[in-house]
Point group: C2
Chain length 206, copies 2
């Protein structure tokens, strides 16, 4: 619950955070320093809170990690579920997934960055990596179906093709800045263009 006094305090940069704000600061710090290297004391210091005030919001560092990863994974999974619910070819579903994944990455940059940098050193991380693996597997199935449809070239292994596509998509967390000059919707189109048509001029193909 946020009171107007809390809000005023937050505006002054003083204690009085809500759960969402604590989470945002925690994810930023995890991305800067690495999750393993960040202590609850580091987080309390960044927030200007005592450790006990911080424990008022969250039971543990791991709970903060779990919530951030849930945000990233559930949004990515929703994109894939939406694509599979379409009455469309595998190739068109894949296009929907690529466009949607770029949108999730640019909209949820901090939590997806955290997801993509996980090392798997705790149960929460291992579970998240397993969900990522399942996501990748389902996308690989789409790529394979699009190859069977004749809509994608079949001379590249479906697993390798999926990893290269997501290499482009996931690279977005390394260099996209929300306040930068790259428009997220145009970026999704650029990723699709390279993935499907490549960088050669049109008349160099076929």
């Amino acid at each position: 619950m946020t009171t107007s006094a809390d809000t005023a305090a937050a505006r002054r940069g003083r204690p009085g955070y809500d759960r969402r704000q604590v989470l945002d600061v925690a994810v930023t710090l995890f991305n800067e320093q690495g999750y393993d290297a960040t202590s609850v004391a580091d987080l309390a210091e960044r927030l200007g809170l005592s450790k006990s005030a911080l424990y008022h919001h969250f039971a543990s560092k791991e709970e903060l990690l779990a919530i951030a990863l849930e945000t990233a994974l559930s949004r990515l999974e929703a994109v894939l579920d939406g694509a599979l619910a379409l009455d469309a070819s595998a190739a068109d579903r894949l296009e929907h997934v690529i466009r949607g994944a770029v949108a999730v990455l640019t909209a949820e940059l901090p939590s997806v960055t955290l997801l993509l940098r996980l090392r798997g050193n705790s149960a929460v991380e291992v579970a998240a990596l397993e969900r990522r693996r399942l996501f990748d597997q389902r996308v690989t199935g789409l790529v394979r179906s699009a190859q069977s449809e004749g809509r994608l070239r079949a001379d590249i292994d479906a697993g390798v093709a999926t990893r290269l596509i997501f290499g482009m998509v996931n690279s977005v967390v390394e260099w996209y800045r929300p306040d930068g000059r790259v428009d997220p919707a145009l970026l999704a189109e650029d990723v699709l263009t390279v993935a499907l048509s490549g960088l050669l001029p049109r008349d160099d193909h076929g």
Copy 2:
């Protein structure tokens, strides 16, 4: 200097490492746990050495990091220098860079993985990130020249195109395994195929 007694001890998994072996174990541990989260004590424990025995080989954790990053960066820079020394078009030079970068990543997987996961929390890391930035800038110059030559499509920003190409190339550290079923030379060709021609069948182009 490695004596036959040292070698026998190393074979038994006991102390008696040379500098190269200590470095390899350190880089593996940095990649598993994160550089910031790895202490000299962790490294000594993994090696089964005392901290003072470890300091016999290296002055500091940072020296290990610096040597690993130098390996990765100097090999990548050598690929780019080699491409620029070719009597060839910008497009052909770029192809040489992409093929060579994939070869460096698969051959020097641990040190390049470390380079790509840097956060910039120390002077050594900041210097390495600056060399990476210069490398990217020089490759972007090549992409821009290839666009001017008419050899690459010009409707995608050269900086974005470079980042997407290296998104594919760099993703290799996330999923390529030296003992796996993917051949590194074929992988380089697959990256080139997607980057230049895309995943559509040939007759869907132009």
